[in-house]
Subunit: 331 residues, 2 copies
C-alpha cells in the first residue's frame, strides 16, 4: 500500500485540512537506473503557503490534485542504480508520498552518523543555510551591532540569533509566548526577548530592548513587527526580508505605514531573498554550520509530529505558532 497527499483546493486565508486529500495509490515498480524511496522525515515550511496560490513566483505553484512537495529525508529501499545502494539515506525536494521511484538526480546523500537525520531538514539544511546566508550575504552583520530577529523561536529565527551571538552581537528576539521568550534566552542565548502578544506598544518595546537602536533586523513575519523594527532602525541599518508569515494568509492586500522616507533619511536597505539565490554558498554554509554544531556553539529545537497522514495538520500548525523550532513530520 502506498499513499500521497494532494492539494485538493487552494486555501483562502489560513489553510485547513479540507484543502488536502490523502489518497491511496500503488507502490511503483522501478526500472533500470531507478531507485525506490521510502519517506522518513518530511519538512513543512511557511513558504509552501505561497506555492499554494495560483500566482507567478520564483517557483511554479502547486497544481490542484497533484501532491504537494517539500524537503524530505528518505531511504533507498530498492535500487537498480549503481550510484545508490539499498539502505542509503538521501535528502531532496520530493512529493508527499510514502513511497516513490526516482532516478536519483538532484538527491543528496546524508550521513546518519554525523548528525541526526532530521537535522538535515533543519540546522544543516535549508533552514540553517537561510539563517547563515541571510545574515552574512544580505545583512552584512558586524561584531558589536544590535541584531533584532522576529519569529525568533522558530527554526530560522533561533539559528539567526545564535549566529548573531557567535559573531559578537547583541541579540534581541521577538516571539509569541512567554515560554518561547524564555527558551530563546535560556536555550539559544539571546540577550533579550519580547512577547509581541502581550505587548501593547511594539515601537516602545523594541526601543526599550534595543537602547542603541537596531542595526540589523532579520524579518520572518512582516507587518506591524517590521514597522516597529523600522521605527527603531539606525543609520545604515539593514532589514533582511526572509519571510512575512503574518501576511501570508491575508485575503485582502495588507496596508501599513509607508517606509520610503525612513529608507532615504537613514540610508537603510531592505532586501528580500530566498535561499536558492545563494546556491553557490551552500557548501561553505553547511560546513560552517556543521562545525559550530560539533563545537556545541549551535543547538536547535524541533517539533516532531508523527504519521504521514498528519503532514497537513503539521503544516497548518505553523500558522498557529504550534512549533518550537523546526517542524518535521516523522513517518
Amino acid at each position: 500500500m502506498n499513499k500521497a497527499i494532494l492539494l485538493k483546493s487552494r486555501p483562502e486565508g489560513t489553510p485547513t485540512e479540507s484543502n488536502f486529500e490523502i489518497k491511496e495509490t500503488k507502490t511503483p515498480e522501478i526500472n533500470d537506473g531507478e531507485i525506490l524511496l521510502e519517506s522518513l522525515y518530511v519538512s513543512v515550511d511557511p513558504y509552501l503557503r505561497g506555492r499554494m496560490r495560483d500566482e507567478k513566483s520564483y517557483i511554479e505553484p502547486f497544481k490542484i490534485d497533484h501532491p504537494v512537495e517539500s524537503s524530505i529525508i528518505a531511504q533507498v529501499t530498492d535500487s537498480k542504480n549503481k550510484d545508490f545502494e539499498k539502505g542509503t539515506f538521501v535528502h531532496g525536494m520530493l512529493p508527499w508520498k510514502l513511497k516513490q521511484k526516482h532516478t536519483g538526480k538532484g538527491l543528496q546523500k546524508v550521513d546518519k552518523y554525523r548528525a541526526p537525520l532530521s537535522a538535515y531538514l533543519g540546522i544543516l539544511g535549508l533552514t540553517g543555510i537561510t539563517a547563515y546566508v541571510g545574515l552574512t550575504k544580505i545583512g552584512d552583520l558586524k561584531e558589536g551591532e544590535t541584531l533584532l530577529v522576529s519569529g525568533a523561536s522558530g527554526a530560522v529565527g533561533s539559528t539567526v540569533g545564535q549566529i548573531g551571538k557567535i559573531m559578537g552581537c547583541k541579540v534581541v528576539g521577538i516571539a509569541g509566548s512567554d515560554e518561547k521568550v524564555e527558551t530563546m534566552k535560556s536555550k539559544f542565548g539571546f540577550d533579550k526577548g519580547i512577547n509581541y502578544k502581550t505587548t501593547d506598544d511594539m515601537n516602545a518595546a523594541v526601543k526599550n530592548a534595543c537602547p542603541d537602536g537596531v542595526d540589523v533586523y532579520f524579518d520572518n513575519v512582516g507587518g506591524e513587527i517590521l514597522d516597529a523594527a523600522l521605527a527603531n532602525i539606525n543609520r545604515y541599518g539593514r532589514v533582511i526580508n526572509c519571510g512575512a508569515i503574518s501576511l501570508y494568509n491575508k485575503t485582502e492586500k495588507p496596508t501599513g505605514p509607508r517606509h520610503e522616507t525612513t529608507l532615504v533619511k537613514k540610508s537603510v536597505k531592505m532586501q528580500g531573498f530566498i535561499v536558492r539565490d545563494f546556491q553557490e554558498d551552500f557548501e561553505a554554509a553547511t560546513k560552517q554550520l556543521g562545525q559550530w554544531l560539533q563545537e556545541d556553539k549551535l543547538t536547535y529545537s524541533e517539533t516532531i509530529v508523527e504519521g504521514f497522514d498528519n503532514i497537513p495538520k503539521a503544516f497548518i500548525g505553523l500558522f498557529e505558532g504550534k512549533n518550537e523550532g523546526k517542524m518535521v513530520v516523522k513517518i
Copy 2:
C-alpha cells in the same frame, strides 16, 4: 548692505513664504586668513524640507531664526587668505546670505571656463553625482535592463535617464505634465514617458510602458508611484530610494500597501541613500560626468529664478512642480 534669509518657523505641510524672513544685516569685515564671499548662484533642493523639521536625521535640523543653508556658488571679493585669490569662484555648503566671511575650509574652487557656473550646482555637482552613484553603487544597473525613473524631468531624474541610455538600457520616465514627458523624450532621450497626473491606473501604465517588467526603479517621489513600480518589479529588481517628495509635506504618517511579501517573493532590494554616503566616489563620478558632458552625451535643464529675495519662492516652487531640471536662484 547685506541680507540673510532665516527660517522663521517650521513649515506644517507645504512650506510658505511666511516660514522665512529676509533680514538686513551688516557686511562682515574679514580678518587674517579669511575671505569675503559674494553669493552668485544658490541651489534649492527638496531635501532641505527635511532639515526644516525638528527631528533627528543624518544632518542637524535648521535652527529657527538662523539662515537656511544649501549649495552655493560664490565669488571671492576680498581675501586675507593666500589660498584664495580675489576673483576666485568657489562652491560650498553655505548659509543663505548675500555676503559672508569664510575661512575657506571645505570650499571647492570651480573653473568657469570648463562649464557654466550653475552646472556645478547641478549636473557636475551633487545632482549629477546623486544620479551616478545611485544607479551604479545601489542600482547595479546592467546593459539591456529596463530602468524606470520618477521625477524624471527633474534635475536628478533627467540625469538618471540619460545615464541609463548611455549604459544601454530601456528607460521609462514618470513626470507630472505632457510637456515634461515630451521634454524627457525629445531632449533627454527617454524611450517612453508617463504623465501620472492624467493616468488613472498607474500599475497598468507602468506595465504598458515596461512590457518586460522593471529591473531598476530610481525613486524620487515615493507613495503611489513607488507602489506601481513594485507591482511591476522583476525578480532580483532593485529600487533606489533617492527621495520621497510626494510624502515630505504630509502632516499625518502616510500609509499604503505593504511591500514585504513582494521583496521576499521576488528577491527585491530597496535601498535608501544620500549622496554623502559616497564621498569617496565623488571624484570619479565628477570626472565621468564631465567627460560625458564634453562628449555631448549628457545635457541638462535648469530653471533659473532671479533675485536673492526669491530664494524661498523658488524652494516652494519645487513642491508645485514649477521647475524643469535643476532649480537655481541667480543672485
